[in-house]
Symmetry: C2
Subunit: 249 residues, 2 copies
């Protein structure tokens, strides 16, 4: 993928130059997270981070790593460093990210699409609902992961390199909405982590939580999820609850 | 360990033959779960079950396995089988359990004590608080896991073979309390899973939840946890909240 200039939030202007415009009730776009939302990769990501951290001499309980997955890698490392009362230099952070990528590459063969992921993408596409995929992961990792999915042609993929700040900042979802020509308020964010839901709220999108990344329902509700479903299959069965007239119905 | 006759619940009689006896406020015993409570093994257990299930041709999203860890293996397999609409014969269940044990044995070298686990055991022991460890796992797996911990001499270890039904049935905790010569009402159950907390309530013990197995705080509270802490270190820092006069204070 060609590297793109990060979208600066300062340069983001409302499509109608700030004049009041009502959200159009019939318009809806889906901004989908990748890991834990479309593919069953969170537990492998967790173990890959644990391996990378151990190489750096950091022993952290695994649940603490789990609860940071989906964040920007840099923010995650800083947050975990605080917990073990240690600081990492920029070069150490870069090395940790590289080690994580190499550990994760060893586990990628275990990763499967989540139940209903391909069907959800196909159904939305058939219903002409605009979709984009927005992940805190870097492009090279994301594109390898996307190979196990059937992503409709032309779906915008927004990765770490496309924005200045990843989740829980709203940049990824703002950029994704822009690519679809929609306002963020017209988009539904679908994600499995608290960071997706927090970023959705900062982008003024409604956030739909999925349990398939291993967070509990109440954690997602507490973060402000509009609705919570088990996995993409369960969301697909309830599309009418989130404003999509499914071609199946 | 010598195999013991399962404790039948029918044969369990109140130590004072059913006559009313107030709970003695100064008496307290700790009944501790093992995986996710004292050792950081839940995520390895999850992947071991996933491997065993895949050998049997069953593909299940990993978070669904995670949420069943801590249950009796047999109940867990039945619950997972229902989710994929499949039935397992007794011999298939036995094979799955054996496959799980062999997959887990490969990952055991990654398992570490959770922060504060050894310190919690030592502190309770120094404070003369009776402790027992009660796990849904089988004895051979449990005793291999216990080798990475510093368990005070004489601590009763209750495993799957000691009872007719494992968690979320209360048998393990009832048996553990009996071994300590305490009423279950005089015991605090410490566990990381919803199944620990549900079993504690059926045993009429107070259940203390730990986040170190990867459940969310609200899931444990919803199941009826009396208090929830991060991990054994956090519980140790708050022993006075649960009735222990710590020798450190």
């Amino acid at each position: 993928m060609a590297q793109q200039e990060p979208t600066s939030l300062a340069s983001y202007t409302c499509p109608n130059n700030g004049a009041f415009a009502a959200i159009q009730p019939s318009k809806i776009g889906f901004l989908l997270d990748l890991d834990g939302t479309l593919i069953d990769s969170v537990y492998m990501q967790v173990l890959a981070w644990q391996g990378a951290l151990q190489r750096a001499g950091v022993n952290l309980a695994i649940w603490r790593i789990h609860r940071r997955i989906g964040m920007s890698g840099g923010l995650m490392i800083n947050a975990l460093a605080r917990e073990v009362e240690r600081e990492f230099s920029n070069s150490e952070i870069e090395q940790l990210q590289l080690d994580h990528e190499s550990e994760y590459a060893k586990l990628l063969h275990l990763v499967r699409p989540l139940p209903g992921a391909n069907e959800l993408l196909a159904t939305l596409s058939q219903a002409s609902v605009p979709i984009a995929i927005a992940t805190s992961g870097r492009a090279n990792k994301a594109f390898r992961s996307l190979e196990i999915l059937e992503v409709p042609t032309g779906t915008p993929i927004i990765t770490r390199e496309d924005v200045r700040h990843a989740k829980p900042d709203p940049d990824l979802f703002i950029t994704a909405a822009l690519r679809l020509g929609l306002k963020t308020e017209e988009c539904l964010v679908v994600g499995d982590s608290v960071w997706d839901i927090l970023a959705a709220r900062r982008a003024r999108s409604l956030g739909v939580g999925l349990l398939s990344g291993g967070y509990g329902r109440e954690e997602l509700v507490s973060a402000g999820a509009y609705r919570v479903y088990d996995d993409p299959a369960d969301l697909l069965d309830h599309l009418d609850e989130v404003g999509v007239r499914s071609p199946r119905s």
